[in-house]
Every structure is written in C-alpha cells, then in structure tokens.
Symmetry: C2
Subunit: 331 residues, 2 copies
C-alpha cells in the first residue's frame, strides 16, 4: 500500500492510447506493406478496448496490437491473483489499462516478439486511490538461433532499464526467465527471454514515484524499434525453404502450448470473460504438431535447444558468432 497519491487513471489511459498508436505505427512501417484492421469493443461492466490485427503482411504473417482500459468493482476474493488482500473493504474499485503486442513474422529467420505494459489502480469506494502499480515486459522467441540477436535484444533492454533504475534489468531479466517456461516440456524456455515485471510500486522501486514508473513503463513500451527493428532488418532477407518453414511451424506449437497452458494473463482473461479474440490474438497464424523434426547434432536447429537455456546475454554480446556461416552450412 502507498500513502495518499493522486489518481493516475486518466493520464495512464491517455498514455496507453498514445503508446498503442505508436506501436501500431512501428509495426506498419516495419512490415512495409501490410495493413491493420481495427475493432473497438466495449465491456458490458465498464470500459473497453481497441484490437488491431494485421494478417498476411509483407514481413509479418500476423501482428496483434491490443489496448484496453477497464474499470469496475473488485469483488471479494478476485484480487487474490494480483496479490491483494482477500478482505478488501466493500466498494473497492479498480482501474486497469494496458497495451499488448505479439508479432509473428513470416520468415523463420525473424523471431516472434511479445510486449506488454499495464497500469493497475485500486480505489476506495469514494474514488481515492489506495494502491497502484505497473507491470509489463517483453520477450523474444527465435526459431533459428542467432546468438547476436538475443544479445542485441538484451543489450537494448539493459540500456532502457538502467536509465531508470540500476537494479531493474538484474531483477526483471531472471523474472522473465522464470515466467516464460513450458514446465510440461521439461522446463523448456519459450524463447531467449527479455524482461518481466509486475506489482512495480514506489515502495519496491527504491524511491521512484508513480510518475517515474510510468516513464519507465513507457520506455519499455517504446523499446521495440531499437531492440527488435534491428533484428528484423538483419534477418528478413535471409533465404529459407520448406525445411526452415516446417521447423518454424513446429516451434510455434510450443508458443501455443505456453499461452494456453501457462500464461496467467491468457487464462485470467478467458476465465473473467474478456473478449476472446483479443485475448487469443497472441496465437500464431499457423502452427503444427506434426512429427518432431529429427535434429542432427550440431545443426542450426539443434542449437536452438542450447540457446533456450537461460544465460547472461550481456556477456554474449560479441558480434556474429558466425551465425550466417552456420546457416549456409545448414543448408
């Protein structure tokens, strides 16, 4: 809990709407030809959102960029998944707003990326804020394991985090490694991680204010052009064939498994009756559960398994581990 502070709800809603537009614009440019369709939806119990989806773009097979802003009464007990006390005073209300993005590229050489930032505020019956926090993160899921891409992504996240707090990257990077895990697949990571944070309040952020935390969440929300755009540019023109496409579809099956079996946001959204199409926009456009590819030891595909072991990517930032030479050999 935090001592009295002014509500950030209106500012957060404006911030998220702007960020949503900017993220959409980035993916429109990055795609180089595809267009988003937009659906605006409202929630019977208050609030709503805007879901934008690009299907069959030039660079991306599917991109979903969603924003929502919802408010309502916090029913007794429903706060538990968010770490709230079960005996909240009657009439306690909440406000939540956020942006979430998942981009599934066409080329198996370009990784899938996910990003989400959100603001949550708890208010007494009279509207006085009693608690507020930020959450979010971004993570990268490669199909073909270019070590320099993972290192670049993490280096950019480290830069953004460090500009706001010296301990953020060191705390949020392992949190991400712990979260995006297919525990049913012998603990295999969904990808090469990134950062993940939740319940980020002034009290847990060494003196930063709610405004400072909003600036941090905004910086995370705007990291993709630097952290991911570079990777798209590096990889999108690489050649690939049927073998690489099959491997991508096979690995996308793991993405579906994580989102439907383990992702708390997805499961919470589906249970609480959020708009199904918005919650499931994260699923890949096409995925297979066909025969597992036989991985030749030492092949480019086999190296993915090794790359999914969590590690300190900042110490692996040396340029090009002969990734492209590896690719040439693999083909």
């Amino acid at each position: 809990m935090t001592d009295g502070f002014p509500s950030l709800a209106a500012d957060a809603e404006r911030w998220i709407a702007e960020l949503h537009d900017d993220v959409t614009a980035f993916f429109r440019r990055a795609d180089g030809g595809g267009a988003f369709t937009e659906e605006r939806w409202t929630r019977p119990s208050g609030g709503g959102g805007v879901t934008r989806v690009m299907h069959d773009g030039v660079t991306f097979e599917k991109v979903g960029v969603n924003r929502s802003a919802v408010a309502g009464e916090l029913e007794r007990g429903t706060g538990a998944p968010m770490g709230l006390s079960a005996d909240l005073p009657a009439g306690t209300r909440f406000f939540a707003t956020g942006v979430s993005v998942v981009a599934h590229p066409r080329s198996p050489m370009v990784p899938t990326v996910h990003l989400n930032v959100r603001y949550f505020e708890v208010m007494a019956a009279d509207g006085t804020p009693t608690d507020a926090w930020f959450g979010g993160g971004t993570d990268l899921t490669p199909y073909y394991p270019f070590a320099e891409d993972a290192a670049h992504f993490h280096t950019e996240l480290h830069r953004v985090c460090s500009a706001h707090h010296p301990e953020f990257y060191g705390t949020f990077k392992p949190w991400c490694d712990r979260y995006f895990v297919n525990s049913h697949r012998h603990g295999e990571a969904r990808g090469v991680g990134g950062i993940f944070f939740d319940q980020l309040r002034p009290a847990s952020a060494g003196g930063l204010t709610h405004r400072d935390l909003m600036a941090f969440a905004d910086a995370v929300g705007r990291v993709l052009p630097a952290a991911y755009g570079t990777i798209i540019d590096r990889r999108r023109a690489l050649p690939y064939g049927e073998r690489e496409r099959r491997f991508q579809l096979y690995r996308r099956g793991r993405y579906v498994e994580f989102n439907l079996l383990h992702d708390r946001g997805t499961l919470f959204g589906l249970k609480t009756g959020a708009r199904v199409e918005s919650v499931l926009m994260s699923l890949p456009p096409l995925a297979c559960w066909d025969e597992a590819p036989a991985l030749t030891p030492g092949s480019f595909e086999a190296r993915l398994t090794e790359m999914l072991q969590p590690r300190d990517w900042l110490q692996n930032a040396e340029p090009a581990v002969n990734d492209v030479a590896m690719l040439a050999t693999a083909r």
Copy 2:
C-alpha cells in the same frame, strides 16, 4: 465402494493391449497406405505404454493410438480429481490402463474422431481391490456439417449402448455434450458429441458386473469401424479446395483450445508428468488462428455453428439433408 471382488488388472491389461492392436489395424486399413511408427515408453515409477502415430497418411494427416498401463501408490489427496476420498488408508495403490485415439483426416469433408476407454482399480496395501471402474467415450468433430454423418455416428453409439444397458446412451450422450465445450468460446461445443462416461461401477449400472462393464467398454472401443468407417467412405472422395482447407485449419484451432484449456485428461497428464508426446498426440498436425472466415449466412460453413448446438441426433436420422447438393452450391 464395492464389496470384495477379484482384481481385473491383469485381464484389463490384456484386453487393452488387444484393443489397441485392433484399433491400430482399423486405422491402417481405413487410411489405405499410411504406416504407424511405434514408441514404447516406461514410467520411472511403474508401468508404461505404447504410442503409435501415423503422420501424412493417405486419408489421415495424423492418427495417434496410445495405450498405457500404469500402477503405483495413490498419494494422499491425489485421488480427489477422481472423486476418491482424501483420507485413503496409507499404502493404497492404483492400477490404470486405457487406450486413446485421435484421428485427424486430411480432407475437411471427413470429421476428426476421438475415442478413449480406460479401467481404474484401487487396491489396499495388501493388493485386495477395494474399488474399480470404467470410463471412456467417443466424439465426432466435423468441419463441414453433414447432418447425416452426425446422425449415423449417434445411431451406432445408441446401438452399442443399448445392447448393454437401456439407459446408457440416454445418460452418456448428454454427459458428452456437457464435457466437450469450449466455455471460453461462449459455450461452443467441440463437435457434434457422442458419448462420455466415467466412474462407471456396478453400483451405478443397474446390476451389471465389472465383467459386463468391461464388455461394454470393449464394445465402445470397437465401435469406430461401424460408426466412423462409414463416414470416411462417404466423404473421402469429395472435392475440396483452398477455402475448405482454410476453414478446416481454422476450426482445428478450436480443437487445440479445448484440449489445452479444458480437457481434464490432458491437463492431468501434463501435471502428473506423463509422457508429453503421448498426452499431446491428440493435437492436430496443423492448425491456424488466422483471420476468422467471414461466414455467408446460409453457407455450408455457417451451418456448422447451427450443427454444434446439442440435439437429439437419433431424431435426425433421415438420410441426406441434401448435404452434397449444399456442398455443390457452396462451391
């Protein structure tokens, strides 16, 4: 609970192994060219299974036929999902064996089918059986809605059920309708249902013995040649194109969603560390979450939604509701 009775474990294991072979043989014949690969696996804590998968057959894109027989100690509390008392005496053991099958045809005109039968026995520490039951069922998931196929499938199930107990079909058909539901998709059924039963004991089956129930479960396990083979033969030569294939892949997404979000067997298997490849063999070979197809009212595809409303299929058994004429119109 049931009064003293001899253990059926050894007989059930033999029965399931034979049934597994016969079901495999049916799908090999029905496919007309594809071959199964087999993997035998053992469970560190006791027992094991045989997983057979056909990939890229002539008629089927993927068929999985799995059998397992496992035994072990029932740890306190783990019996709860099966309706067992939480305070089982120390040293209580279990034996479980079953066959499960999922077949995903290549043609969107041929429905996906799922079948499972299983036997579960609970034993005191000294090996004396204290409880035993059968479970299982089979259900049909069409992509293109041929009403006469659903009627045929249910008519065959009614025939098999009625040969064993006059109330089985009337009890197990609505149970299936309640079970295979994508609650997160506004309660949409996975398919046109079939039968589902669990914890079937002599006490709940009006005088039938464990042996009688095994004969019933065996008959369910052998129903596919009559109930499904006919449908394959009717539909496999029908023409289809890209539109029908896209619709099939889109609907297969719903199959994945049900299995990963709602299917108790899948979730229980993954949580208890069963062999992941065997548990997930039910997933379709390829599925999409691409743009939802725009369904023209009255189109063949739009009729699927109507057909997924649970109904009395025995009253809809009149031949051909001009399905094929409908198909011609749709194209």
